[in-house]
């Protein structure tokens, strides 16, 4: 038997080393072949913008994007700027839909390709009208930045940012109108994360929350505080429905915990009984 094994080892080692040494193509194939979990996507935009041939201000673009909310949600360069990130030679080809950097007045249309509802409300707002008529009103990047775009929250409305263009009075009224609903959205989001950590799938609730939040924030872009106050009840109602579902899930989780804790106690008890019973038999 030992001899069979030694022969087997010799055959396998010989076959491995002969393949490894003499067949370069084969060697390359297996040496460099990527494995499922280690695959890295080719992205010509990032490769080029991270390299030294790029100007300093363009190099920072990828760094800023990697810290953004877009990055966390897999929104890539070509999703906004067009082109083909998988093909370096055609990455900036207009045939592949490359747009490049939009002009200042084109930014709302540029972002509005995805944020459709927000674009509509923005264009009807004082901000949008100012941009369309004078070309100098605030656009999306004025408040949200261009590449380092963070998850939007109520803190975006602050004295420092708003007073760059006008007084803070109206913005403050708007912030107060948004406050309760925004807080409720934040709390529900946190609870959904807690539920997820407990192993409950919350994809559907997350989607519901996201769509309610998107609708609410789109409304905010009208910068009409009266309209926001008027519609707040509708949103609160929608959020309450999600909240009820979350509470039900937590109640269910507690029941499961208690139920399995009860079964744990039963089996621990049975173990003790069996152990004591076996001791009497030994005697």
């Amino acid at each position: 038997m030992r001899y069979i094994f030694i022969s087997l080892i010799a055959i396998l080692m010989l076959a491995s080393s002969s393949f490894a040494s003499y067949r370069e193509a084969f060697e390359k194939e297996f040496l460099f072949k990527s494995w499922g979990g280690e695959e890295t996507e080719v992205n010509a935009c990032i490769d080029c913008h991270s390299s030294d041939i790029m100007k300093k201000e363009f190099q920072n673009v990828t760094q800023a994007w990697k810290k953004s909310w877009h990055y966390q949600n897999s929104v890539l360069c070509d999703d906004c700027h067009g082109g083909d990130s998988k093909d370096a030679t055609m990455s900036m080809s207009h045939q592949r839909g490359f747009i490049g950097t939009p002009k200042y007045t084109e930014v709302p249309e540029f972002c509005g390709k995805c944020h459709i509802g927000i674009l509509r409300n923005y264009l009807e707002s004082g901000h949008g009208k100012a941009l369309q008529t004078t070309g100098k009103g605030p656009n999306c990047v004025t408040c949200h930045d261009s590449h380092n775009i963070q998850k939007a929250n109520i803190e975006i409305i602050n004295e420092g940012r708003c007073t760059k263009c006008h007084t803070y009075e109206r913005a403050k009224i708007m912030k107060q109108a948004l406050f309760a609903t925004e807080n409720k959205i934040r709390d529900i989001d946190k609870e959904l994360e807690n539920l997820k950590a407990e192993g409950i799938y919350v994809g559907n609730e997350k989607r519901e929350l996201f769509s309610t939040q998107a609708e609410f924030r789109a409304l905010f872009h009208t910068i009409d505080a009266d309209l926001v106050i008027q519609r707040t009840d509708d949103f609160t109602q929608k959020l309450n429905i999600i909240d009820t579902k979350i509470n039900n899930s937590f109640t269910e989780l507690n029941f499961r915990k208690n139920f399995s804790a009860f079964l744990t106690l039963i089996f621990v008890g049975l173990s003790i009984v069996v152990l004591m019973f076996s001791k009497t038999y030994k005697d």
Partner: protein, 353 residues
């Protein structure tokens, strides 16, 4: 009336004599320890897997569009559906631990020695089949973890020259993980593996019964007086005790660590276009996975793994010395500790690499 029914049944089935001959007259060696009960604990774990599996089958839909949702429905919509699913997950992992401990104890007590070589081989085959059960099982929820861990594992056969891609294609039903892979793994998990498994388990248990339990090598009392005790109640109660301890552990984990074997990626629907960061196979595949990663030549890597598996399987025929006390075999102790350390190190390395 009740006595009449009992007597009538006894007259026809002869249960009393069956219990007497199979439980009371069947003798086990004195001084056997709780490690001897790990086999029956593993069998009970399989029974739990089969029973909970039947319940899961009622609601599970093996289709990429419905698999994830059907599993979520089992967890959150079906009454008490969470119980069989959580049991299935926790027991599958604990079962692998029990089998590993069982194999370790058999190795340390050198119980695989003649005439028990075939019992060892059947046991190792059962361990391998268990791993295939686990592999085929964790694709079924069609989560991110399922999808990408299976991608990694089904890539492994491609390291074989000439037939590698062909084998991988047979496993996946195409070039990539798809609905065809799900169907194949589902069929493997619920239809192909169970009868093979039952057959080998039957053979394993037949041999255990036929050759009887081995005498513990460390027990001095057994050496002095090779006394034998009836299986019932002497050993039977030990087994029941360990089964109760196993159940306690299972429910303890479900109560206090419900997500221990269920990371976030297992709770996210599969997305073939989005490779998650740091996706890893299950813990029991981490050592071979890490070994593949550190050996640059994949064919050499897989050759080595096949060889190691063969050595493991046919170990009783390689270790031909007659000494049955491991304490008198220092070289074997060193080999055993070294093998275990390498396995632990590779697993930890794979987990944190």
């Amino acid at each position: 009336m009740w006595q009449k029914i009992k007597d009538g049944f006894e007259e026809r089935a002869g249960l009393q004599s069956l219990i007497r001959t199979k439980l009371k007259d069947y003798k086990v060696p004195g001084g056997i320890n709780i490690f001897y009960t790990l086999g029956i604990v593993a069998v009970i774990a399989y029974v739990i897997q089969a029973l909970t599996g039947y319940f899961l089958l009622i609601y599970y839909i093996p289709h990429p569009d419905h698999a994830f949702k059907s599993v979520q429905d089992i967890m959150n919509v079906a009454p008490f559906g969470w119980l069989p699913r959580t049991l299935h997950i926790v027991v599958s992992n604990l079962m692998v631990i029990v089998i590993i401990l069982h194999l370790i104890s058999i190795f340390v007590m050198l119980s695989y020695k003649k005439p028990r070589e075939l019992t060892w081989i059947a046991g190792v085959c059962l361990f391998f089949i268990t791993l295939v059960f686990c592999l085929s099982g964790y694709l079924l929820p069609w989560s991110q973890r399922s999808f990408w861990a299976t991608t990694i594992v089904t890539n492994i056969p491609t390291a074989f020259p000439v037939i590698g891609d062909y084998v991988a294609n047979i496993l996946r039903g195409g070039d990539n993980i798809s609905g065809a892979t799900l169907s194949r793994f589902f069929a493997l998990h619920v239809a192909f593996l169970p009868p093979i498994f039952l057959l080998i388990t039957g053979f394993h248990m037949f041999l255990v019964r036929r050759l009887e339990l081995s005498t513990p090598p460390f027990s001095t009392s057994a050496e002095k007086s090779p006394e034998r005790y009836p299986f019932y109640p002497h050993f039977f109660l030990k087994q029941v005790f360990m089964i109760m301890v196993f159940f306690s552990l299972v429910f303890f984990m479900i109560t206090f660590m419900p997500t221990f074997f269920l990371p976030e990626a297992a709770n996210t629907p599969a997305d073939p276009l989005k490779t998650p960061f740091n996706i890893k196979p299950e813990w029991y595949f981490l050592a071979p996975y890490q070994l593949f990663k550190i050996i640059p030549n994949k064919f050499f890597g897989i050759s080595l793994q096949v060889l190691l598996a063969l050595i493991f399987l046919l170990w009783p025929y390689l270790d031909t010395k007659e000494e049955k006390n491991i304490l008198k075999r220092p070289l074997l102790i060193i080999f055993f500790i070294l093998a275990l350390t390498v396995w632990f190190s590779l697993t930890l390395w794979g987990r944190h690499s």
